[in-house]
């Protein structure tokens, strides 16, 4: 008994992951189809729209694929990936969804860290990979419909174009925030570029992504069912409450004329603040792990205050 590693074992982590994937395979296949069907529908609809609007004449060979990829990029590569991760937080407590499942999962001889990391890996990396695979499959299925349209430009896969033509949201933010605009010969133009400001803005986006992920991960650990919806509702509620509070305190001027953004991007304090903000997602992840570790087979106690108290104890 003493020979068993009670900290972290990679082989046992692999076993936990394997068991999770095999036992919940039906659910994961369901998630895959939830992503695959809209992708396919979107691609078929897009082809149809282009034919109806006679847009195909404006494309040269292969350009259609690039346009389709570009259309997909803003939603897929950026927002959709994050949205998927947030929605997947719903699955954090899947193995503990019922008393019976919770008994099975909690009694599995592995450390809480191994179990938690396997859930995180599934909810982030696996869901994103599944989304790309779903897009690829939708693309391949779409190819089966191409002969009906008799338009050679529709041949070709979209997915490679996503990576080739795709614009990185971090680069976009970096370039956008770094630019200094002015008037040159009567027209508005970029007159200078401030890389430090661009880096701050891009870092801030990174922190925001991590923060959103960590909040949804926390929600997934607190609630066993419909966690993403509850987290989203609570987050939206907090945002509205914050806005209302700002309004009540007559501080709404900070939103006007990009005042806050300008101050933030130009202040040396901003850099410190960005790194300090990193503490929040790290705290959320730690708290998620603590709550996950402290879960009991009968969780009648879902008071956030008590959970926080337990997590700190």
């Amino acid at each position: 008994m003493n020979a068993i590693n009670n900290t972290f074992s990679f082989s046992r982590f692999g076993m936990v992951l394997k068991r999770d994937l095999v036992e919940n395979r039906k659910r994961y296949i369901g998630v895959f189809f939830v992503m695959f069907i809209p992708f396919l529908a979107y691609q078929l609809q897009d082809m149809q729209d282009i034919i109806e609007l006679s847009l195909i004449r404006t494309y040269e060979q292969g350009d259609y694929m690039a346009s389709l990829a570009t259309d997909l990029i803003p939603c897929f590569y950026g927002i959709l990936s994050l949205a998927l991760m947030c929605a997947a937080s719903d699955m954090t407590s899947v193995p503990m969804g019922s008393k019976q499942h919770a008994t099975n999962y909690m009694m599995m001889p592995a450390t809480n860290l191994e179990k938690f990391l396997s859930r995180v890996l599934i909810n982030t990396v696996m869901v994103i990979v599944m989304a790309y695979v779903a897009l690829l499959c939708a693309d391949l299925v779409r190819m089966l419909f191409v002969p009906f349209y008799e338009i050679k430009e529709f041949y070709g896969l979209t997915l490679p174009k996503v990576f080739v033509s795709g614009s990185d949201p971090f680069v976009e933010i970096y370039q956008g925030a770094g630019r200094d605009w002015g008037t040159v010969e009567g027209t508005r133009a970029v007159v200078d570029f401030n890389p430090a400001r661009g880096i701050i803005a891009a870092s801030w986006l990174g922190v925001l992504v991590l923060l959103i992920h960590s909040i949804f991960m926390l929600g997934g650990c607190i609630w066993r069912k419909a966690a993403s919806i509850k987290t989203l509702a609570l987050s939206v509620g907090f945002i509205f409450f914050g806005l209302w509070l700002v309004e009540q305190c007559n501080l709404s001027w900070i939103f006007h004329d990009d005042y806050l953004l300008k101050w933030y991007l130009n202040s040396s304090l901003a850099r410190v603040l960005t790194y300090l903000l990193l503490i929040v997602p790290i705290f959320n992840w730690w708290l998620s792990f603590r709550i996950f570790s402290l879960k009991q087979v009968v969780d009648r106690d879902l008071s956030l205050k008590k959970l926080l108290k337990k997590a700190h104890s």
């Binding site: 009670n6 909690m106 106690d301």
Partner: protein
């Protein structure tokens, strides 16, 4: 092997404590019968023993380690068969492949023998089985895991009549001096011959904690005709054939323990039984 010290536990939203200042010890090499009325906290105690619930106060130590920490070394040496459970939709062979590596003492040979006792083999599809069959298959796996502690909650619920005797054989054939089995049940007649030790609880009180041998040494279980006087009896319960009675075993007579009678007697005459087993 298992020590419960000054345990306090209550469910949230319920001011009434299920356990308060509750202590109990389980030794290795015995089959324990955990008995109690409905709502006395038997299942809760099993969950506390396995670390599935956390006490508000006190500790539950398994081989010196706190079970609430749910360490792999502890979890790989204990197994729980709850009253209700779910099994994934796969064959027993696949289930073993996924789960057996977690249990260092797991014996595939033992599993095959256990399954054969219920006319199963490793190719059974767990998802297609009835609840009773699932329970049998799960118990086969649990016993083959060869953990030091096996906890079973109402194991005979849902089993048909032949399966109940097969269950007794299963437990007997898998028992060893290194194992402890705790069985919580209301179906005392299904398991009375199996038990080495009886624990009767009522809320935070342990009304009886004695080995079957000790009980039979101190008490005499008899069936008397209605006409026979029962003045000296510790506890009397009318039955179809007369009176079932528990008497003090003053002359070292041998009798077969009537667990149902003992349970009812202990609940009805707490003080008297407490005096005998003091």
């Amino acid at each position: 092997m298992l020590k419960i010290n000054d345990l306090a536990f209550s469910y949230s939203g319920n001011n009434c404590k299920v356990f308060n200042d509750f202590s109990l010890e389980f030794e290795k090499g015995a089959v324990y019968g955990l008995l109690g009325k409905n709502g006395t906290g038997k299942s809760t105690l099993l969950y506390l023993i396995t670390g599935l619930l956390h006490p508000q106060q006190g500790t539950v130590l398994f081989k010196g380690e706190e079970v609430r920490r749910r360490l792999p070394s502890t979890l790989s040496d204990m197994y729980i068969v709850p009253e209700e459970f779910e099994l994934p939709s796969m064959t027993m062979k696949q289930y073993v492949k996924l789960n057996a590596p977690f249990y260092p003492n797991f014996s595939e040979e033992q599993l095959k023998q256990n399954l054969a006792l219920f006319d199963f083999d490793e190719n059974i599809r767990l998802g297609d089985l009835s609840m009773g069959q699932k329970k049998k298959a799960y118990m086969c796996f649990a016993l083959a895991a060869n953990t030091s502690l096996l906890v079973m909650d109402e194991p005979t619920n849902g089993l048909d009549i032949p399966s109940k005797s097969e269950f007794r054989r299963l437990i007997a054939s898998n028992m060893s001096d290194e194992k402890t089995i705790i069985i919580s049940t209301h179906q005392v007649r299904d398991i009375d011959s199996l038990l080495d030790h009886i624990v009767i609880i009522d809320q935070s009180s342990v009304l009886l904690n004695a080995s079957s041998a000790d009980i039979c040494r101190r008490l005499l279980f008899t069936n008397q005709p209605l006409s026979e006087p029962t003045d000296g009896a510790f506890y009397v319960q009318p039955s179809v054939s007369g009176n079932s009675a528990i008497l003090l075993n003053e002359y070292d007579e041998e009798s077969r323990m009537n667990l149902e009678l003992l349970f009812n007697g202990v609940l009805a005459e707490r003080e008297k039984f407490a005096q005998v087993f003091k």
